[in-house]
Symmetry: C2
Subunit: 195 residues, 2 copies
């Protein structure tokens, strides 16, 4: 098991916003039903240890988006809402590193390891993970604390959330990020605390 | 058909290096056998019109890579080699925008549209396309001028080059880039020239 240094590790919670609940309410099917509760478990573990937590929120400029900043869908889901002084960085593109001070904030805090959770796996989470890895961070994607939706892809291909999600994991694995589970991540924190 | 302004459009050729030929010679299977000849057709069309062409080359720091700068695999494939003053930008991560002056170079030249071709679809081409879109460029990925390889993915999933490639197109389509074909791109150039 990989250890984690609590002082140099940040949990980055990406776009866990109520607009995605509306997509489910509208009948869209997603994978990983336990993802948000896993995010909450990770948040709790990071907070109890006084570790870095950063929230990213998507303010869409797309007229049809449920994540426009003036809409109720922009709000954080209840389970993952920021507390205390936890920073909330607002972006309007997929990558959490573009149009925000995320990179500088991590470097100023001497963070070298970023634990990434959120939605959707293949868009904002994957893009942020690719950048995190390419910018030199030790990126850990928590596979059961992310999710995505079924869709009709390019050329009319029907793609399940599970297949889309799995391809993101394969694309990132070993090239941009280490794939973790909530349990593997929590165990790594326990090990580090005991060391 | 979308028009293209020849003065503000650049062809970006990503990692078309001999190391990928060695992977084929070593028995790895890829998709899009016509991809390199399509890249050559696009290069010819851009060059005949005096349009911007930028080459990106990957200098791997990975001990086992065929793309290490001191190895023969680092060299450009013959069909896509730079000519004249065409710039060659060298990077050591997946995104062509990290560790290079690609973004500044495009902005200095008033380029707003980037046509992306190269290898591999899901790693360096996709990462560069995600960044191009997120940085505000009109990104055009030419689906039959990119390719990738079969692999064993995360969790031991066997994934074909065709499925990996198709998922990249779906992930990018409409979110980060417009998916083009060599023919659609060449037709757009003809239309623009005639306008």
């Amino acid at each position: 098991m990989t250890k984690l240094n609590p002082a140099t590790t940040a949990l980055v919670v990406i776009d866990v916003q109520k607009g995605f609940l509306q997509r489910e309410a509208n009948g869209e099917r997603r994978n990983n039903p336990e993802a948000v509760s896993n995010m909450a478990r990770l948040l709790d573990a990071f907070r109890r240890r006084g570790m870095h937590v950063i929230h990213i929120r998507h303010a869409s400029t797309n007229p049809g988006s449920l994540l426009r900043p003036e809409l109720p869908g922009f709000a954080s889901m209840d389970e993952t809402r920021e507390i205390g002084e936890e920073p909330v960085l607002v972006k309007s593109v997929n990558s959490g590193f573009i149009g925000t001070d995320l990179e500088q904030r991590l470097r100023n805090a001497a963070v070298d390891t970023v634990v990434l959770v959120g939605a959707t796996t293949n868009h904002c989470v994957e893009t942020t993970a690719r950048l995190a890895g390419n910018l030199g961070f030790d990126a850990r994607l928590v596979e059961d604390a992310c999710y995505t939706f079924d869709r009709t892809g390019h050329g009319g291909r029907r793609e399940s959330a599970e297949d889309i999600h799995a391809m993101t994991l394969s694309n990132l694995d070993g090239e941009f990020a280490t794939i973790e589970t909530t349990d593997s991540l929590l165990a790594a924190l326990e090990t580090s605390a005991a060391a």
